[in-house]
């Protein structure tokens, strides 16, 4: 989900600047199989390192871009308490971005390089944040569904094979459950409120349900390249497994709220214990991933503007530090 790009084929050419012998690769795999953690300077296959850099930085970018749809409602939050809680949540997201950039940097890529990748449009972030937050109920839906889906993915990642990433994920998971509860709480209040508030909640669910399911990435039969990530314990469950788990857990929550999930084919199968669901519109998913979602341009423009507007500030801080380092050295 935040790691949708995982299923893409590694586009880098196979040639690398050092030899990787069969013995080294086997020894590495043995460590993974023994549930050992790989740390920053340990030997690792180049493809492992590159996959992690892409996955971790994509996850970090998602947190940063994710601040925007919710940030748009901060000034309009309907009570001071909701305003403060939403701000704390968004602050956590910035913090998660920081933990993740920090973990990625242990793999030899710099923050600047990663940020440049995001701003150029080359690096991906989770498609979910390309949808607009149109009402206050959307803030509830984002917490309940989007953070709910994120938690489903992040808990297994706490056991991922790469040490710095798994430790960052442990931190993230500790903070994430408040995020989902915050969203659900907003919807409980709306669903127990005026008819307009209840209609607002239903409308938000109608718009966020399918994009949330798409967060888990393409179906397993379309995900030919995740086998290696599973073997290296960077990915621990398949897309469909996580998506099914999310649906099974979330539909009863929608029933509790008195809301209708916008899927005519949704049906509980007593034999399997799972919900059967309708077909996902993968054209929409691919379209949004390709940059044609409702908010892709807007999200990127805001990020680029913040970065460009801040250049003079970053340079000033740098210049000041250099001037004063020189003074101390003299």
């Amino acid at each position: 989900m935040y790691t949708q790009g995982l299923d893409q084929k590694d586009k880098q050419p196979a040639a690398i600047d050092r030899e990787e012998t069969a013995e080294q690769l086997a020894a590495f795999q043995a460590r993974i199989d023994a549930e050992e953690k790989i740390e920053a300077k340990d030997w690792m296959p180049e493809a492992y390192r590159r996959t992690l850099v892409r996955q971790i930085s994509q996850h970090a970018h998602s947190e940063i871009i994710g601040m925007q749809p919710e940030g748009n409602w901060l000034t309009r939050a309907p009570t001071l308490k909701r305003k403060a809680i939403l701000l704390a949540k968004i602050q956590d997201e910035a913090g998660h971005g920081l933990y993740l950039y920090s973990a990625a940097e242990t793999l030899g890529v710099s923050r600047d390089q990663m940020v440049a990748g995001l701003l150029s449009g080359e690096a991906k972030y989770s498609s979910i944040f390309n949808y607009p937050a149109l009402t206050w109920a959307d803030i509830g839906a984002i917490g309940w569904l989007v953070d709910g889906a994120a938690i489903m993915n992040q808990i297994p990642l706490c056991r991922c094979s790469y040490g710095p990433y798994s430790r960052a994920m442990i931190r993230v998971c500790k903070e994430e459950s408040f995020h989902q509860r915050q969203g659900f709480d907003i919807l409980v209040t709306l669903c127990n409120g005026t008819p307009q508030q209840k209609a607002m909640a239903q409308d938000a669910l109608d718009r966020w349900w399918w994009p949330s399911l798409m967060m888990f990435g393409p179906s397993d039969k379309e995900s030919k390249h995740s086998a290696q990530s599973m073997a290296w314990k960077i990915k621990r469950f398949t897309n469909d497994e996580l998506r099914q788990k999310f649906i099974d857990v979330t539909v009863p929550q929608a029933e509790f709220l008195g809301l209708r999930v916008p899927d005519d084919d949704l049906e509980f199968d007593a034999e399997t214990g799972h919900y059967r669901h309708g077909e996902i519109d993968w054209r929409e998913f691919l379209d949004v991933l390709a940059g044609n979602g409702p908010c892709n341009r807007q999200r990127m423009e805001k990020r680029r503007k913040a970065h460009d507007d801040g250049a003079w500030v970053r340079e000033a801080a740098q210049a000041y530090a250099e001037k004063h380092a020189a003074k101390h050295a003299a």
Binding site: E39, K41, D42, W43, Q91, D92, G95, L98, Y99, S102, A103, E105, S110, R111, D112, A168, E175, A311, R314, E315, A317, Q318, A319, Y320, A321, H324
Partner: protein, 95 residues
């Protein structure tokens, strides 16, 4: 346009009096004071710290994982450094 990014600092937090500082992650900052503030905001928002150390990442000297065997294994032979090596006779407490 200098185009240089702010240097990377590693962050160590002592979460409670009596414990050691533990590595928590890293931040970018232009100077030491900014690094301390950034570390506080990033790693101690939920009162997880009583003391913060920040160190320029470039100042950290680390053992080489490739040399792990030579660096660490000789100690494994010296089992008499471990308390379990010694059998204590029954009836003697506090040893």
């Amino acid at each position: 346009m200098s185009g240089k990014e702010w240097p990377l600092y590693e962050v160590f937090i002592r979460s409670k009096s009596g414990l050691s500082h533990r590595h928590a992650g890293s931040v970018h900052a232009a100077d030491d004071q900014m690094a301390l503030d950034a570390a506080r905001d990033t790693y101690t928002r939920r009162s997880e710290g009583v003391s913060i150390w920040v160190v320029r990442s470039s100042q950290i000297v680390a053992s080489d994982p490739a040399e792990t065997a030579a660096f660490f294994e000789p100690a494994e032979d010296k089992i008499y450094r471990h308390p379990t090596f010694y059998d204590m006779p029954d009836g003697v407490d506090n040893l």
